[in-house]
Assembly symmetry: C2
């Protein structure tokens, strides 16, 4: 069970989010598949994938000399459920307080 902190850290990098996007578009890609079109060496991509795998956002299977990468949407879902939702409750309250302060500014 990877800590939520690992997931947040993994999602903090735009290259890694774009790798997740690519897997979302087409699941089960090899390392080389994921490399092409990117302005990065294969080794850099490997490192990013390792971080995504450690955060459990990506799961891999060896198939001969190929390593297939699959998106695991569960941790993303959990961020939504366990973290973002918390801030949705009370969102209107927070916003109305903000508004009240903005108006008080001109007193």
């Amino acid at each position: 069970m990877p800590a939520m902190d690992e997931v947040f850290k993994a999602l903090a990098d735009a290259s890694r989010r774009s790798l997740l996007d690519r897997l979302h578009a087409r699941n089960g890609q090899t390392l080389n598949d994921l490399c092409d079109g990117l302005a990065m060496t294969r080794q850099a991509v490997t490192k990013h994938l390792a971080i995504l795998e450690a955060a459990n956002l990506v799961t891999t299977f060896r198939h001969g000399r190929e390593k297939l990468h699959y998106l695991n949407p569960v941790p993303i879902h959990q961020i939504g459920e366990r973290w973002i939702r918390k801030f949705e409750r009370g969102k209107l309250t927070a916003l109305s307080e903000l508004k009240r302060q903005l108006e008080k500014r001109d007193e």
Copy 2:
């Protein structure tokens, strides 16, 4: 309009997420309010708050010599809507592909 990347980066740090938690628990706190109990200097907290403010996750108002910090839940909500939701669609598909691969492993 702060780029979503800034928001993700701001959320990547546990100390910053805990500052948001504190504001969620009680909105409109001063810098010193937010400092106490934390194992960090005031200046470190200032830097974190600056990053949260740049990402538009926190808005501030001066009131005399005090600076009041308010949570802005909008960017968090947008991460949920614009990013996380995208991966919820197709979540079941992705999971069933994962399952299929896991089973294929034992052939």
